[in-house]
């Protein structure tokens, strides 16, 4: 019952935030919408007992990443002059096509019955197995997925170096 209430509330919050991101004229509002979505999703993570991931979501995403976004928005100026009417040829048709395809896909999977929502779902989930504490996540992370872990570490290093290189860019004439 609690879960249902939370799902409805947070689901509505996430959708509203997402719509704000897409529709807001001012990028700062978009950022705020994204922040709302991220928080809502984080709450849903907690509902799923994914405590650690939820914490990371709030700290890294809603915290650091969003700060970075806002910082860049402020750096390059709040640009409200974005042209709203479509000027690219065919782009409107393509957007329509993508939207239509998503709807068709959703309708198809809903009504055809060929798609089970979660195919391997068990009848009665055991919360003890998916209790996402730090220990519970760390164990597979550093055993089964250690190679992927190392790869992401490398990726982060490269990203940091790349960001520094980009920031160092100077125009030839200056």
């Amino acid at each position: 019952m609690v879960e249902a209430v939370l799902f409805v509330l947070m689901g509505a919050g996430a959708i509203a935030g997402a719509l704000t991101v897409v529709l807001a004229r001012n990028p700062v509002y978009s950022a705020m919408g994204l922040l709302a979505t991220l928080f809502s999703v984080a709450v849903l993570y907690v509902v799923h007992l994914a405590h650690a991931v939820a914490a990371v979501q709030v700290i890294v995403y809603a915290g650091a990443v969003m700060t970075l976004f806002l910082f860049v928005i402020m750096l390059i100026g709040v640009d409200k002059s974005e042209v709203r009417d479509e000027q690219l040829p065919h782009q409107r048709a393509l957007i329509l096509g993508v939207g239509l395809l998503i709807v068709v896909l959703a309708a198809a999977v809903t009504f055809s019955g060929s798609f089970v929502w979660v195919p391997a779902a068990v009848a009665s989930p055991n919360p003890n197995l998916t209790n996402g504490t730090i220990q519970a996540i760390a164990e597979p992370l550093f055993t089964d997925w250690v190679l992927a872990f190392e790869a992401t570490a490398l990726l982060l290093t490269i990203a940091a170096a790349g960001a520094v290189a980009l920031a160092h860019y100077r125009r030839r004439d200056t």
Partner: protein
Amino acid sequence: MITEYIWLVIALPLAGAVFLHFFGRFLKAPLPGVVASLAIAGAFAVALVATLPFLQGTDHGQGILLWEWMPAIGANLEILWDPLAALMTLVVTGVGALIHAFAIGYMHGDDRFHRFFTYLNLFAASMLTLVLAGNFAMLFLGWELVGLCSYLLIGFWFTGESAAGAAKKAFVVNRIGDLGMLVAMMILFAVFGTLSMEGIFGEASQLGAGLATAVGLLLLLGAAGKSAQIPLYVWLPDAMEGPTPVSALIHAATMVTAGVYLIARSAPIIELSTTAQVTIATVGAATAIWAATIALAQRDIKKVLAYSTVSQLGYMFMAVGATAYVAGIFHLMTHAFFKALLFLGAGAVIHALNDEQDMRKMGGLFKKMPVTAVTMGIATLAISGIPPLAGFWSKDEILGSLFNRGGWFSVLWLVGLITAFITAFYMTRQWVLVFLGEPRWADDAHPHEGPRVMTVPLVVLAVLTMVGGLVNTPLRFTLEHFLEPAFEGVRVLHPPAGWLMFAVLAGISVLAGVGGIGAAYLAYNRPKEDWERFESGFGRVWGLWEDAYGVDDIYGTTLVAPGLKLAEKAAFKVDLPAIDGAVNGLGFLVRRAGQGMRVFQTGQVRNYAAFLMVATLLLMIWMVVGG
């Protein structure tokens, strides 16, 4: 022991060529020539030491494997070091070294001095690869490389149109011969499954009579191309466009004898087919007399020698065709001595007269160039077959062998005898025209003897010409015994035994030689008007000889012109519309396709994102519907 280092014989000139190619231009004028000469002299020294075991009789030849290249088909880098290869190597490196030294003086002042010696050394390395090859693949490698060097050196002064044309002609005519060579190699491989000489000659009898004839004739075609025999001799006279040392080294002493070497090396196969033997000997005889008559009427000092070379190569073919391999190789060796000497002497004369080659504008040079005159005189006597000079012994052995075989070969003997007379005649004519009589050269020429570096090789070669024949006389068959291991299991034809027969046959041929010399001396040691009247007394025949029987024109109208026409048709009627059309059409299609695809390359990130998503969603639909 030393035999294991025999690869140095090839490596030294090759190293010289590589070195000169990269660093030759930094050396001052005589130095590249010195480097090249030292490289080939070093090769000579190595070869000489490695030959000693054969002379002592402690070794009878062996194969030395250097590197496994394609062992499955018997094509490795291997050297077959036997007496035959040793003799060829000594001739190539020995005569080659002398000519290298001579060229230092002859090429003095040429802009591309170092390049000349690069080519010469490369040629030496290629020629040695050819003669030392232990299998037909390596032999063919050398065979083609000497052809390339010949091309490069004939066309050394490529700015002259005639030199460039002559180089091309030599290359193209040689290709015709190479075709025969290649097909022969293919047949051999098909039958024996290997290209190794050891493998082929060891079981040569497996070759049926028909195939043996085919291989023999195809080898003859290859040899005829390289050794300038009828009908492929036409390139050699034109090759005289090259510098004279080149003519001496490549087109007299070494490369053109490769065909003779090939036939002698393939003796176990030639052995099997009488048809091939008769054909080879007949081609040789025909070439000998044909070229000799042409040489009679030439005015160019080098052209005389060129046709003379063709004629003498005909002798060698007669010999190897009649299975008198030793006699053929013997003549190859002595010919290398005296013909190199003749060419170098001619070079000295040309050099002295500011590149004048017309004999009618020479004369009376004896006093100005005594060393050249005497040495060339010795060579002239040698080629005319006057004892005890080198040419006498080898030519006499060939003629004796032919006579001994009898039958059709007796006819060839007669042809050889007549050719001997003609040879003596035209060689004496040349010597008299150049060195005796009144001076007819241009006023601004100041003929003089060349520098020491040019005269010393002449003298050395003259000494070799005098004593070189003594290695194989009826008194001492040294060469015969030396070459025995190389012709093991092959029946080698000899002159008739007995002193009486030798005396009779030698007497006849000496008579022919002396007759030719005497006739020419009488005819030409007179004022210009007299011998011009003598020549015009022959009427149109003389013109025919002078024009080399018009063979070049006949080839031109029957082969070259239709070939050009065919090429033109192929180029403009087939290649342009069909081949080019197909290629262009393909390009056109690609360009049109690209034009079509440009629509998607809008440069707009959002378009790309949309394409990406549409594609992803379509894939998902396919998965849902199809899966």
